[in-house]
């Protein structure tokens, strides 16, 4: 079986987000880029599967859609343990263009398990996995928190309200994973970092796509209101504040 893990290149989760040009463009100056945390966990689980089922998984490919500046992030995925990588040379503008480019790659090469994160920590679109499934006409399972090989099938678990759903699925399929799919993202070791230099990273030109969305502008979240301390004895004042100031009761 062959696994494809889709990784997106996102700002480190501690980045202070700033915008330029009247809040229409993200300011990437000084930003530290990382693998989207959900994608990194998906990759970690893919490697665990390959280690646990010697022979069953022959190859793990990572794919990223991005300009040449995303290559350090892709190299990290190779250092963690992916066997090879594909970069589609495009600065993607929306979820549809990402899904379309991915679908073209998957049509060219046959992957059995396609994993992508439930969302990316930058735009939080939660759309790519579902769109990809539609474009390829592959089954997909969302919010997957466990995956393992079970005979000819794959066994998946997804968290549902008050319990878990256990699903058996045949390949090919798309697993849209959430946290829990692996305990912690794997940290590359020094040998992995050395080997990553020589692993294949193929650059593919994008197919042309129509754009269906246009970002008008971004807004910052409202600044958090200052914290007010109320004396524990003074319940009256607390109720008054909740009524009249916070207006929550």
């Amino acid at each position: 079986m062959k696994i494809l893990v889709c990784i997106s290149n996102v700002p480190d989760t501690t980045t202070k987000i700033k915008f330029l040009n009247n809040n229409t463009t993200f300011d990437s100056a000084g930003v530290q880029w990382i693998i989207n945390p959900w994608d990194e966990l998906a990759l970690t689980r893919a490697i665990e599967l390959k280690e646990a089922h010697a022979g069953a998984i022959e190859n793990i490919t990572v794919v990223n859609i991005g300009p040449p500046t995303t290559e350090p992030t892709i190299r990290k995925a190779l250092a963690i343990g992916a066997d090879n990588a594909i970069r589609i040379n495009l600065d993607p503008k929306d979820a549809y263009s990402v899904a379309l480019q991915l679908s073209e790659i998957i049509k060219k090469d046959s992957f059995d398990i396609i994993l992508c994160g439930i969302e990316s920590s930058d735009y939080n679109g939660t759309s790519v996995g579902g769109m990809l499934s539609e474009l390829l006409d592959y089954p997909s399972v969302s919010a997957v928190s466990f995956i393992d090989i079970d005979g000819d099938q794959l066994k998946l678990k997804r968290e549902i309200d008050g319990g878990q759903e256990i699903i058996g699925i045949s390949t090919p399929f798309i697993g849209i994973v959430q946290k829990g799919i692996a305990k912690d993202a794997r940290i590359p070791n020094m040998r992995g970092i050395m080997m990553a230099k020589t692993k294949p990273l193929q650059v593919v030109e994008p197919v042309s796509t129509d754009l269906y969305t246009d970002f008008v502008s971004f807004d910052y979240p409202k600044a958090k209101a200052a914290c007010k301390k109320v004396d524990p004895e003074n319940v009256k004042e607390l109720v008054n504040l909740l009524h009249n100031e916070a207006k929550v009761i």
């Binding site: 350090p72 990290k76 912690d184 940290i187 590359p188 020094m190 970092i193 050395m194």
Partner: protein, 382 residues
């Protein structure tokens, strides 16, 4: 990190070692320090991620990286904890290096793979009660009798030499020839050899989770083939080992300073007195500015020394400068960081208290600050 000497691989090494140190070492560092406990488990984990044998070639189980990569790794461990940085730095530069650079093929094949994987540790025994800065005043003797070296004497303060996973040490001995001419020879002594005792030293002020030993040799007999390099090579081995060791101590100073600075900055941004964060008081802001400036300079100097080494150029003077400057910057930054923390900085609840203690070895070990100045003054022609 943007730096003219760093490439993509160096940055990935920094990121990975930082993640590892934060995830694995940071949660345990305070407790291991308090209990004076050397952690075999963490040492093995550091081995698994590839922190030992970083510059040793892959044929002996090493990682085959350049010196700058290794220095970045030590820096990142020291940013979180001095004891574990010591285990890694001594493991590489004092334990592995003499065997890698001076050992014969048989010795390298026998010892390096287990040392490079972090399964085992090795010591470098130079210092003696009467031979510290004046290392040529060694009293430990080795006499060649019937195909064996017979060793008598003792060593003190030897890192990584008596832990549960320590398997031996390279020992600097006086092996005067038949004519009585003074010469030094380095000899491999495995732990467990009759007549050799490695005893753990306790109650250190700093590096309390790192293993430090006294070594005693009483008619200790090892085969003639245990010689490292050639007879009389001892001084050469010692000097070369210490030159490289200076880069490691520099990295420990730089990393410790970076960690202390980050703690101080965060504290100063959060601690409010007189109605505003203390970092808005010019006296505190200027302290932080000086700390940042010195760290930047220390990093530039140390990375330059590594660049010289990696490009096969003379680096010894810059190594001594890096050791001196980085360790003194660590002292300055840790001291100011405690000052910024006020009374809380003196409490064990705050990591800065441990950093303040841990920095103090750096101006003493592997050549004191005074000796570094002596070395530098000789290089510049005094």
């Amino acid at each position: 990190m943007e730096h003219p000497l760093l490439n993509e691989q160096h940055n990935l090494i920094r990121e990975s070692v930082r993640d590892f140190a934060e995830r694995e070492i940071k949660p345990l560092a305070k407790e291991l320090d308090a209990k004076q406990q050397f952690s075999v488990e963490l040492t093995h984990k550091m081995g698994d991620i590839g922190l030992f044998g970083m510059v040793v070639s892959e044929e002996y189980g090493g990682q085959g990286l350049d010196y700058l990569s290794y220095i970045i790794a030590v820096e990142e461990i020291a940013r979180v904890d001095g004891s574990h940085a010591a285990t890694v730095a001594a493991g590489n530069s004092l334990g592995l290096n003499p065997i890698y650079y001076f050992g014969n093929e048989e010795q390298k094949k026998k010892y390096l793979p287990d040392l490079c994987s972090g399964k085992k540790l090795w010591g470098f025994g130079l210092t003696e009660p009467e031979a510290g800065s004046d290392s040529r005043n060694s009293k430990t003797t080795a006499k060649l009798i019937d195909g064996n070296w017979v060793i008598n004497g003792s060593k003190i303060f030897i890192t990584n030499a008596s832990s549960e996973i320590s398997i031996g040490s390279s020992i600097q001995t006086v092996s005067n020839d038949e004519n009585g001419k003074k010469e030094f020879t380095t000899i491999i002594v495995e732990n467990g050899t009759p007549g050799f005792i490695a005893k753990t030293m306790h109650d250190k002020m700093m590096w309390r989770a790192s293993n430090t030993a006294e070594l005693y040799f009483d008619e200790c007999k090892v085969p003639e083939s245990n010689i490292l390099g050639k007879r009389g090579d001892g001084s050469k081995i010692m000097l070369s080992t210490l030159d490289l060791g200076r880069l490691s101590i520099g990295a420990m100073g730089l990393g410790l300073a970076q960690g202390a600075f980050e703690m101080a900055l965060k504290y100063a941004q959060e601690r409010v007195q007189f109605g505003k964060p203390i970092c808005k008081q010019q006296a505190i802001a200027f302290k932080l500015a000086d700390m940042a400036l010195k760290i930047e300079l220390a990093r530039n100097l140390l990375y330059k020394a590594c660049w010289l080494k990696d490009n096969h150029k003379p680096f010894e003077k810059e190594a001594a400068m890096s050791k001196l400057y980085c360790s003194e910057v660590a002292k300055f930054v840790a001291d100011e960081a405690v000052q910024i923390h006020g009374g809380y900085g003196l409490m064990k609840d705050y990591d800065i208290e441990r950093f303040y203690r841990d920095q103090r070895l750096l101006q003493i070990g592997e050549g004191t600050s005074e000796i570094q100045r002596l070395v530098i003054s000789r290089y510049i022609g005094c």
